[in-house]
């Protein structure tokens, strides 16, 4: 029998890579998932996975630049040591996935082919057709099946994780979960637990995510005492296909392969798109951002599309907002080879061939940058200390968060193709940390007191029974719909304090109503109704973190955009005056960073049913924050002023502080 047992909640890329690595290290794993792990949401990822590579290196790229692009794209809200470690691991992650059999697209000579994604100038993204996430997930699923057949891994699929089990010291000793068929509630003792439960798109009703992405697992940990960080940072993807049950993603790779975004210059031009000559087309991304063109970072592309439709009234259709994403200038064969999968999705759901007719797209909620607060140990070289027990550990000792449900890799805005990387990286890199933890914490999954397990099960059984008995009259499905509507209206692309304030009130009311749900099924066999009701109730703590975090953050950073707090472009023509404005601009930037370059950390207060927010410093010790100036008038002057200041600061620093040690961890 294995010395250690770990419970992994979630079998997406993060959960599976962790399971696989733990099994290799001889640890027994109980893997719990809402769905057969092979069906996890990661399967939806289309575009690819980033790593610098032999080709980009020769064009001047390296790991450090990947790291730099990631924190710059994230508007410096990312913790830098974990991001640095991830960037340096990236090429190794691709190599491993290649060995596991992922059919990455190949060049004519048989090397792994690459494409360019948003927010970088290099072709770093490896891809497998247009179903990269599916292919990566399957490779990991296969390895986990192999370990399962060897007996080290036990899978509990169609099981709902309900809560961590904590002993008197607060330490996590396992989990409680429920079989979604028999409705049995059971305790799973463990030396340590990983939650790898993905994003929380369902809080917004419709998004690009799978129906499993309801945030329930993260919320249950949050309510048990793990902190939730940066909740307000929700990525809205610029290009999705509007639908009544789901907003289906049109991957960034469509633009990576040359797709162009445009609207007719004449509002709602009635001509067929191909009859509109170039001169009557407004390629607004290319015009506004000559360097990056259609591949500006997501937050910017999203706002531009939103702006062109909402403020300039140039939506392609009069009663539904959308713009064209055009691939029709690219050869069919080429499109089939590189984008086949996603073009089929469009064709299947819209009944139109995007190889002939430009697609109609609009932004949609896509990714949660925020998540469970998790720790790390910084190494002397500014990366992570391998095997340190605190890597990825939440505030609950012995409970770890990995993948989209953690918070520190993507800052205020995630770059395309970086998430698959962070998921696999954390699973591989941080799993050994659980072993060090289990060894240093002592005790074992075998000697968790039975009374502790029983009382944890009992608490969940009570919640379950009370829901079934419920005498309320609220319909959980309709409440979910209302929640989705209010979140989508108030906390997506453009945020205003009055709207956020009123959304907070609405969500409070909905939360109270959600406690009085009436279930149309009170049975004790495969009761999807009660499982949904629980997930719904648990969406509220996260929704509240998102709204309150957004309300209190009076600035623009990455995906969080408040028009009332934008920084102005430079207006002066006269060079001296312009220079003075740039100085002022930089002063304001620095002042703003002093106040808001902070992680939002929420603690759940059960007595008031509200999150309590506090703010924590971000470790920016490796790359000093600099302004993100995509498309701003006067950017060159600001940049000039900024580099002078940076140079000055650096020379001052090296005068006073010969060892560049800022390693006294910025995190408290």
């Amino acid at each position: 029998m294995s010395a250690h047992r770990v419970v992994v909640v979630g079998g997406g890329l993060a959960g599976l890579s962790a399971t696989m690595k733990l099994a290799e290290l001889g640890v027994a794993v109980d893997l719990i998932s809402l769905t057969p792990v092979k069906r996890s949401h990661s399967v939806c990822a289309q575009g690819g996975i980033n790593a610098c590579n032999d080709q980009t290196r020769q064009l001047g790229d390296n790991e450090w630049k990947h790291f730099d692009d990631t924190v710059y794209g994230g508007d410096f809200l990312n913790h830098q040591p974990p991001v640095k470690e991830m960037a340096y691991w990236a090429p190794k992650v691709i190599d491993l996935m290649d060995r596991l059999g992922v059919p990455f697209n190949r060049t004519g000579e048989g090397f792994i082919d690459r494409r360019r994604f948003g927010g970088t100038l290099y072709k770093r993204t490896a891809f497998a057709g247009a179903t990269t996430g599916q292919q990566l997930l399957y490779a990991l699923d296969e390895q986990v099946r192999r370990r399962e057949s060897e007996g080290l891994v036990r899978k509990f699929e169609f099981w709902d994780f309900l809560a961590p089990i904590q002993d008197d010291s607060g330490r996590c000793r396992g989990v409680v979960a429920q079989d979604m068929s028999s409705m049995e509630i059971r305790a799973f003792p463990a030396d340590a637990v990983i939650v790898a439960s993905g994003g929380c798109g369902l809080v917004y009703g419709r998004s690009t995510m799978s129906v499993f992405c309801n945030g329930s697992a993260a919320s249950r940990c949050f309510q048990a005492g793990a902190d939730y960080a940066n909740g307000e940072f929700i990525q809205v993807h610029p290009t999705a296909i509007p639908g009544s049950d789901k907003l289906r993603l049109m991957s960034e790779s469509a633009r990576g392969e040359g797709g162009r975004v445009w609207v007719p210059r004449k509002p709602q031009d009635a001509r067929a798109p191909k009859d509109i000559p170039d001169s009557d087309r407004f390629y607004f991304l290319e015009e506004h951002f000559p360097e990056y063109g259609n591949l500006v970072p997501r937050d910017i592309a999203t706002r531009e599309i939103f702006d062109v439709c909402v403020n300039e009234g140039l939506s392609v259709e009069p009663d539904r907002m959308c713009v064209y994403l055009d691939l029709t200038h690219i050869e069919r064969r080429e499109l089939d080879r590189k984008l086949g999968g996603i073009l089929e999705i469009y064709e299947k759901f819209q009944g139109v061939d995007p190889r002939d007719v430009p697609m109609k797209i609009f932004p949609a909620v896509h990714y949660s940058m925020g998540g469970l607060w998790a720790d790390y140990a910084r190494s002397a070289d500014g990366g992570l200390e391998p095997g340190a027990p605190q890597n990825q550990m939440t505030r609950i000792p012995g409970l770890y968060a990995m993948g989209e449900c953690d918070y520190h890799y993507h800052g205020a805005n995630r770059l395309g193709a970086n998430s698959l990387l962070s998921c696999i990286f954390t699973g591989l890199f941080a799993s050994p940390s659980l072993i060090s933890y289990a060894q240093s914490a002592g005790g074992s999954y075998r000697d968790v007191p039975a009374s502790l397990l029983e009382s944890a099960v009992k608490a969940q059984q009570t919640r379950h029974d009370e829901l079934l008995k419920g005498t309320g009259d609220e319909n959980p499905y309709l409440i979910h719909q209302e929640l989705g509507d209010v979140m989508t209206r108030s906390a997506t692309v453009v945020r205003r304090n009055d709207q956020l304030q009123s959304a907070i009130e609405t969500v409070d009311e909905l939360h109270q109503r959600a406690k009085r749900v009436h279930l149309s099924d009170s049975g004790s066999w495969t009761n999807q109704n009660v499982i949904f009701a629980k997930a719904l109730q648990d969406m509220f703590p996260l929704a509240k973190c998102i709204l309150k975090g957004a309300l209190q953050r009076d600035e623009c950073r990455g995906a969080h955009f408040k028009p009332d707090f934008t920084k102005p472009s430079l207006t002066a023509e006269d060079p001296a005056e312009r220079r003075r404005q740039a100085e002022q601009w930089c002063d304001a930037f620095e002042e703003n960073n002093r106040k808001y370059l902070k992680t939002t950390v929420a603690k759940w207060d059960a007595s008031s049913d509200q999150p309590q927010l506090s703010y924590e410093d971000v470790d920016t010790s490796l790359i000093p924050p600099r302004p993100r100036l995509y498309g701003l008038v006067g950017a060159e002057v600001i940049e000039e002023v900024w580099s002078e200041r940076a140079a000055r600061r650096q020379s001052e620093a090296s005068d006073t502080q010969p060892s560049t040690s800022s390693s006294s961890d910025a995190k408290v």
């Binding site: 690595k21 290799e24 769905t35 057969p36 092979k38 069906r39 996890s40 399967v43 939806c44 190599d95 491993l96 290649d98 060995r99 596991l100 059999g101 059919p103 697209n105 190949r106 000579e109 048989g110 792994i112 497998a128 057709g129 179903t131 599916q134 490779a139 296969e142 390895q143 099946r145 192999r146 057949s149 068929s181 009703g205 799978s210 129906v211 499993f212 639908g243 009544s244 049950d245 789901k246 289906r248 080879r337 999968g341 999705i345 299947k348 759901f349 009944g351 591989l428 319909n475 959980p476 499905y477 309709l478 719909q481 989705g484 099924d521 049975g523 066999w525 495969t526 999807q528 109704n529």
Partner: protein, 290 residues
């Protein structure tokens, strides 16, 4: 099991709003119980698929004659035909419900939409079935690359574009089970947990029964995928052995129903033909090496 979404209230939608969709569902309360039919009325909306129809039914939970009933149980995930969750039999044809567009279904069969669970897997409840056997078959064919471990050992062997283009389509199998449901040789195996039998004992008994049943087109195709991988092929003999044993390739009657229903258009008959050749060669080799 997710919430329905608001109706877009454009005028076109308003006009069609009055239109009701009749949806007939074959229900079953639990394993081994008698199935029964129920009819639901669902307001028609633009751009509906069978998933959104089921979402409306979940929210109303009322039959045409106003009887309050438990919501229909079913499975879905990605809603874009890539996870394989939502397979069911729609108007007599096994397929994914997320890509079953109502407009299209009504065009072909205007009076009603008929939903039934898959026929070759044990029903858990209503449209939800237990596809454990399907995943078990992937273990039978050792559908993985037997790498030494997960340390950094540099890149894998270089592969030609041609080989990638051969493997990628096979690797898109999403374990939906359509090919199995349509196959005349794939027969339902349904066991019941006995009183006092532990979960582990039941799982072992199930696995033993599955081992004797037909392995299925999807698994044959996966075996061919891994046999075509530079390191995966080191297990080729073991895969061929499994495909040659009871429930192996010889069960396939070449009816080709599987390939016709595969939503991912996986060239299953090509895989089956390759597997036929490969197991024959393997048997010959075994014969001469005796």
């Amino acid at each position: 099991m997710i919430a329905p979404e608001s109706n877009p209230t454009s005028s076109a939608a308003g006009a069609r709003q009055a239109q009701m969709l009749k949806v007939r569902v074959l229900r079953q309360d639990g394993p081994g119980q008698e199935p029964y039919w129920q009819l639901f009325d669902v307001p028609r909306e633009p751009d509906m698929n069978v998933i959104s129809v089921l979402q409306r039914i979940a929210a109303i939970s009322e039959t045409v004659d106003g009887k309050k009933v438990a919501p229909v149980a079913w499975d879905c995930g990605c809603l874009e035909e890539v996870c394989g969750s939502c397979t069911m039999v729609i108007n007599g044809k096994v397929r994914q419900s997320c890509t079953a567009l109502v407009d299209k279904l009504v065009e072909d069969q205007p009076d009603e939409i008929v939903l039934e669970p898959m026929r070759k897997f044990p029903v858990i409840r209503d449209l939800l079935v237990d596809r454990g056997r399907l995943f078990h078959a992937l273990e039978r064919v050792k559908g993985w690359v037997p790498v030494d471990g997960y340390y950094d050992m540099g890149p894998g062997e270089r592969q030609s574009r041609q080989q990638q283009e051969q493997n990628y389509p096979l690797s898109q199998c999403m374990s939906c089970g359509c090919c199995l449901d349509a196959c005349p040789q794939y027969l339902k195996i349904e066991l019941e947990q006995e009183d006092g039998e532990s979960d582990e004992a039941f799982a072992a008994r199930q696995a033993a029964a599955y081992d004797k049943g037909f392995i299925g087109a999807h698994a044959i195709s996966q075996a061919m995928l891994f046999n075509n991988h530079p390191v995966g092929k080191t297990l080729a003999d073991q895969r061929n052995e499994e495909l040659s044993s009871a429930g192996g390739i010889q069960v396939c009657g070449n009816a080709q129903n599987c390939v016709a229903v595969c939503p991912k258009e996986i060239p299953l008959t090509r895989s089956i033909a390759r597997a036929g050749r490969s197991t024959t060669l393997y048997q010959l080799k075994k014969f001469f090496e005796r």
